[in-house]
């Protein structure tokens, strides 16, 4: 594997005007500009609406259909359904799989294609299709929470996609490790990852030998995949030794255990010990270690923390982390009970407004909000969305280092990144690029419906549709001022704000802080 520039950007601690709490974005005094009295009004960026709060966190963003569904069946039934993805009919998901036949393809499938002359050796096509499919599912699959968790685990056990040397294994890793166990037990996912050619290649364990073990996988297994930064250098060396022998067959490209390269001798790792007496002990010993690590209290706490950072707050409450870690251990690392406990917790309910969208989440949510759907045929538009995410610095699964994309607002608070998002909003809303996606017959009719009486009402209707919240009085006036109008000015069907200029208003609201909150 390789480390790229982006690694420096993990946990930015920007210090902003003394307002340390991210959640402070929720309710704040706003100074009304040019008012000498500087009367303070409250800016509410997100509505006090538990349904919408759950949708914003457990899906990739509001759609008219998802809002209608949760209103109809209630949060509890909605969550039950999402936690049982097989019960959800998902025609769009099936269609995406058909359009990207190499997404998740096995090593054998790719080898057969190469043999048949329909794929070049070492081609990145299957890795790219896996990425296109990931973003398309994030946008259009009905199994939204499942797709969110696929993204979570893809980052937790990151194998950069695309990256060299895993052209034939990374697609399979997505299907047989990440998607297979996304709602399963973490211990099973961890063991599957350890024996997968993609991980064995990415973190070099396939190259490790008994004479001078390669420490790359042993270290990141402890630091990133399981217990966190509580290990010692001795733990790394012992783990690296025990893991020697887990490798990839050069002829088939599949996993194999090579006893001849295994380093014997007793090992001790984070309280786990194994006599490791013979060359046959490497594989079973390693699997025991992985089970031990998956169920280590430090791992439970780490995964609970990461889930809370994902779904609750950049600075999650300790009470919730502690409770979720216990649920994790009580259930043998099964994830669904942990998610259920998280989403039904009081801490979750109280965390409204405390998460901001990353660039990827922003793009996906924008496409959903605009009711864009896949290309009439082919995949060009869907592929373009993937490149949009890449250009914004967050192509799905493409983070260059083994720690996965950062999941906190401070790590993404870059002017250049924000600018890219703003420009994307206009391009998507106006249909400038990509041009191949299927668009509503009339964006105005889709998002607004009948003609509102005033410019203020137009802004209100759009804001309600995009984020379920009215703009503050000052922001509302700013939005209508884009058309040199006041909120009270009447709106006529011949006005540009209803016609060619309407997408610009949509872009302004998608650019606004109201849409930036998850």
């Amino acid at each position: 594997m390789t480390l790229s520039p982006a690694t420096s950007r993990i946990t930015r601690r920007r210090v902003v005007g003394g307002t340390a709490a991210v959640g402070a974005a929720l309710v704040v005094p706003a100074v009304v500009s040019s008012s000498a009295a500087s009367a303070a009004a409250a800016i509410e960026l997100v509505p006090a609406d538990a349904d919408l709060h759950l949708l914003r966190r457990a899906t990739y963003g509001l759609t008219a259909a998802s809002v209608a569904e949760i209103r109809r069946i209630g949060r509890s039934a909605w969550l039950d359904r999402q936690l049982d993805p097989a019960s959800i009919r998902d025609d769009r998901g099936a269609d995406i799989a058909t359009r990207f036949p190499l997404a998740g393809a096995s090593n054998d499938t790719l080898k057969a294609r190469v043999k048949a002359g329909t794929l070049k050796q070492y081609a990145w096509d299957a890795m790219y299709q896996t990425g296109y499919a990931a973003m398309s599912r994030a946008i259009w699959s009905e199994r939204q929470l499942f797709e969110v968790m696929v993204d979570f685990w893809s980052n937790h056990l990151n194998v950069t996609c695309p990256s060299s040397d895993v052209w034939d294994s990374r697609p399979d890793y997505d299907r047989t490790v990440i998607r297979a166990y996304a709602f399963g037990r973490f211990a099973d996912m961890l063991k599957a990852s350890a024996k997968h050619p993609a991980m064995l290649t990415y973190l070099d364990n396939r190259f490790s030998t008994k004479t001078a073990p390669n420490e790359n996988y042993g270290r990141e297994l402890l630091e990133l995949h399981t217990v966190g930064l509580v290990y010692s250098e001795s733990d790394v060396k012992n783990a690296a030794r025990l893991l020697t022998g887990l490798t990839v067959d050069w002829n088939t490209g599949n996993y194999k255990y090579a006893a001849t390269t295994h380093a014997t001798g007793p090992v001790s790792i984070m309280g786990f010990s194994h006599p490791n007496a013979t060359t046959a002990d490497g594989e079973p010993g390693s699997l025991q270690l992985l089970d031990y690590l998956a169920l280590h209290p430090a791992t439970a706490r780490r995964i609970a923390t990461k889930l809370c950072v994902r779904f609750v707050s950049d600075t999650p409450p300790d009470t919730l982390v502690t409770r979720l870690a216990k649920v994790y251990l009580d259930n043998g690392s099964a994830i669904v009970p942990v998610l259920r406990a998280l989403f039904t917790s009081t801490e979750f309910a109280a965390s409204r407004g405390q998460k901001a969208r990353t660039p990827y989440e922003d793009l996906v949510a924008s496409v959903r909000a605009l009711a864009l759907t896949p290309d009439a045929s082919g995949t060009k538009g869907m592929e373009a969305l993937y490149y949009y995410a890449s250009n914004a610095g967050q192509g799905p699964m493409a983070w260059a280092t083994p720690d996965g994309y950062p999941d906190v607002e401070s790590a993404w608070s870059s002017p250049s990144g924000l600018l890219t998002r703003w420009n994307a909003h206009l391009n998507l809303a106006a249909g400038y690029w990509p041009t191949e996606l299927t668009r509503p017959a009339s964006l105005f009719t889709e998002l607004i419906g009948p003609l509102p009486a005033t410019y203020g009402a137009l802004v209100d209707t759009l804001a309600q549709r995009l984020f379920g919240q009215n703009l503050s009085t000052a922001h509302r006036a700013t939005a209508t001022a884009y058309f040199s109008k006041t909120p009270a000015d009447p709106l006529k069907s011949t006005d540009s704000a209803v016609g060619w200029a309407f997408p610009y208003l949509v872009a302004c609201l998608l650019n606004s802080p109201y849409f930036g909150i998850r």
Binding site: T2, L3, R9, T11, V15, E223, V309, V408, Y482
Partner: protein, 415 residues
């Protein structure tokens, strides 16, 4: 060369990030923070533009600046040591990797140089924790800002144009803090769509973020305030004779040079170069091998940067490299190198004392190593402090690097 023999430095590993997993706890600017904003009247900045180049992943300084005189180097690396016959330069002790050939003229002219056995005060072999500490650069304190942001404070930065992280869409942690700075993915891409005579997009965005506190409001404010100024830099173009490589580093350094030329107020820039984590097949010094190819790209970008700015402008530009750690002295079983400790820093600039290797060589014998790694005899912060003091006019280096005394190695000329 000025390297002397000695030994020093503690070997105890410190754990300063017990809760690193919490990833991104936003920590406020506490009362115990060091004040870096100096009170002097801000005149035009006349010091060097200080460029920090971070080599991500753990740069193998022993391959770049090879201790050819040390038999232990060759003993530790039976397959991947760079043979003496391939080394560049006429220093009998240290030779340059052959892939650094584009920089040899600069080395001979004294505008490219190195410091060896440099690094952090204590070993840290985790990429993620070591990088965090490298960029905080204040072990044993509760300081949470990036050290380059503290430099900006010390130099009296007042606008985001004074400090820029160039080449990425994400904020650079080393620049994170209260002093204004800008994360610039590229100059040419820094344009807001939809802005036209009757479409006041920038003004509308300014209005829609008015009163929004915290990170969101701050980021939007820095963006809208920089959109206009950046147009100035768009006009500056590289010297027609200069060919930058089309790598991310080449593009980023090209933009740094444009910012320098356009005189928008740049005091400091930081740039990244990745892919140095070579656990496997670091390789011999030949094309197609990882270290050779990466050094080739690095040298091409640095040489283009120096050529583009030209000798006169380079007299007030100083670039240094840092990396989170060096690599293990002995190669592993897959012809690669695991995580290590001491490292080489590279310097480029018209006012450096280059063409030589500064520092104190600790040796590579078993008893000289720290758990198999090159010892650190020079704190990277002390080297940078010497540069900031002599070239940038920073008067209070303690405000940037608490409890650090600048080196007296003479790595740069006094102004």
């Amino acid at each position: 060369m000025t390297m002397t023999d000695a030994s020093c430095c503690t070997t105890s590993r410190r754990r300063f990030l017990g809760t690193a997993a919490a990833a991104g706890a936003l920590i406020g600017f506490g009362a115990d923070q060091i004040s870096t904003q100096l009170a002097y009247a801000a005149g035009p900045y006349s010091g060097d533009v200080f460029v920090l180049l971070s080599l991500r992943g753990g740069f193998d300084g022993l391959s770049a600046i090879v201790p050819a005189f040390d038999a232990d180097y060759y003993a530790a690396r039976p397959t991947i040591a760079v043979p003496r016959s391939q080394l560049l330069g006429d220093d009998p002790r240290f030779g340059l990797h052959p892939a650094l050939k584009p920089l040899l003229p600069l080395w001979n002219a004294g505008t490219f140089g190195a410091i060896h056995a440099a690094g952090q005060p204590t070993p840290n072999r985790s990429h993620f924790a070591a990088m965090e500490e490298l960029e905080r650069a204040a072990p044993g304190t509760s300081v949470r800002t990036g050290w380059l942001n503290r430099v900006l404070g010390g130099l009296g930065a007042t606008t985001p144009m004074n400090g820029m992280a160039v080449g990425s869409f994400m904020p650079a942690r080393v620049m994170a803090g209260p002093s204004p700075e800008l994360d610039l993915s590229s100059i040419d891409g820094f344009t807001l769509a939809g802005e036209a005579k009757y479409q006041p997009m920038t003004a509308t965005m300014t209005g829609l973020y008015a009163g929004v506190p915290g990170i969101m409001g701050d980021t939007a404010t820095r963006l809208t305030s920089a959109l206009g100024t950046m147009k100035t830099a768009t006009a500056a173009q590289p010297a027609s004779s200069t060919q930058y490589p089309t790598t991310p580093l080449g593009k980023a350094l090209r933009d740094v040079a444009r910012l320098v030329k356009s005189d928008v107020g740049l005091m400091s820039a930081c740039v990244d170069s990745g892919d140095w984590d070579m656990h496997e097949n670091l390789g011999t010094a030949a094309p197609g091998k990882k270290m050779y190819d990466n050094l080739t790209q690095l040298a091409a970008a640095l040489a283009a940067f120096a050529a583009d700015l030209g000798p006169d402008t380079m007299k007030r530009v100083t670039l240094v490299t840092v990396s989170e750690f060096g690599r293990r002295v002995a190669e592993n079983g897959s012809a690669g190198l695991d995580h290590g400790y001491g490292n080489a820093m590279l310097m480029l600039g018209g006012s450096i004392n280059g063409g030589q290797v500064h520092g104190t060589w600790p040796g590579l014998g078993d008893r000289s190593l720290v758990d198999g790694d090159l010892k650190v005899t020079t704190d990277y912060r002390a080297v940078i402090a010497e540069i900031l003091q002599k070239r940038c006019g920073l008067t209070n280096v303690g405000s940037v690097f608490p409890n650090v005394t600048p080196t007296t190695l003479g790595v740069v000329k006094a102004r």
